[in-house]
Symmetry: C2
Subunit: 207 residues, 2 copies
């Protein structure tokens, strides 16, 4: 019974924390770190200011938790996507497909995430940058491994270093997904994710 109560309370706390983060996420992604006040977050989450501070040391801590937790979710989803299929080309297809879904469903967070990984974010004094980049780099290496294996198995030509290929695919998919999400009227979503992959797969110049 004691146990049950404890865990019940635990769960309750966790739920509250999630609500706070959800409210914060919505606000941050809409207006940016510096244009959102703790008051606003508290109000949106339907808590008082003081309660926020019971859960998070300060604004920075709140933001940091938010971003890293979201980043973990993304990386987990994408890692799973490239691990599941066996064939390398299918891995890449599944990667693009999953990324498209993740982006579409979380476009607002994605922008914050980019701000952090892409440098030029000065939202918090220090630390987050490193923290996020570590995760990003880790993922980039697992993606590189796919290319490496593909080259070893003679499925891919070695047109570049595997890590470079990973960087290339990452940046290409980011660019196109943002393009499509930014203005679906001008740049509608192609049904086929191969539009992106073909840029890598096919050669531009005649040989």
């Amino acid at each position: 019974m004691k146990d049950k109560k404890e865990s019940r309370r635990e769960r309750e706390k966790f739920r509250q924390r999630q609500e706070m983060l959800a409210a914060a996420l919505e606000l941050f992604s809409e207006k940016g770190y510096h244009n959102v006040s703790m008051h606003e977050i508290a109000e949106k989450a339907e808590f008082a200011i003081g309660t926020l501070y019971k859960f998070f040391k300060n604004k920075e801590d709140l933001y940091k938790s938010l971003i890293t937790e979201q980043a973990d979710r993304f990386h987990q989803a994408l890692t799973k996507a490239i691990e599941e299929p066996d064939d390398e080309i299918e891995k890449l297809r599944n990667y693009v497909k999953t990324k498209r879904e993740v982006f579409a469903a979380n476009i607002s967070v994605i922008r914050l995430y980019f701000a952090e990984t892409r440098g030029a974010s000065f939202n918090i004094k220090a630390g987050l940058d490193k923290e996020i980049r570590k995760r990003y780099d880790q993922f980039m290496h697992t993606l590189a491994a796919v290319f490496e294996r593909g080259i070893k198995r003679k499925r891919f030509q070695k047109i570049a270093d595997p890590y470079h290929l990973a960087v290339a695919l990452d940046s290409l998919s980011n660019a196109f997904l943002l393009l499509w999400l930014d203005s679906p009227e001008d740049h509608p979503f192609p049904e086929n994710p191969d539009v992106i992959l073909n840029i890598l797969f096919k050669g531009l110049v005649y040989t």
Copy 2:
């Protein structure tokens, strides 16, 4: 004589303005918009705060001027780079080469510029985003024209829509240049800019 005096003063004012912008640039690129105060800028530029406000309506105006002026410089340099050579492949080579130089010489501004073009920047309330994107999009179209002409002249295969190819080259070059500039120890600058272009030029999968 009157004329000369006038222009002398004009030039003097311009010089001061430049000094202010230079100081602001250094600070903004180091600490971000919100972590730099007008006082700091004034101090660094060795003017009094009031003087700043003689030149710029407010902080936003200062920042906006800074970014758009820099962006114009970049776009001008890059446009020139793709207009000069006659051959399409040489245009692209020259583009990458020039971009590399521009990035290397202005890495700090570049980050700010990305923050603005890549969304996720909430530095100023409104306007800049649109202003910069307009310029960016304009350039993207002139780059697309290179691909279009290349395809028409049978120098390139039509592996994708010309605009998409422009987006692809832009994002690839950004990604690699940042990679190299971020950690030259881990990822040294290849002497040959074709490292980037080959990803576009050569096909990854065997055909």
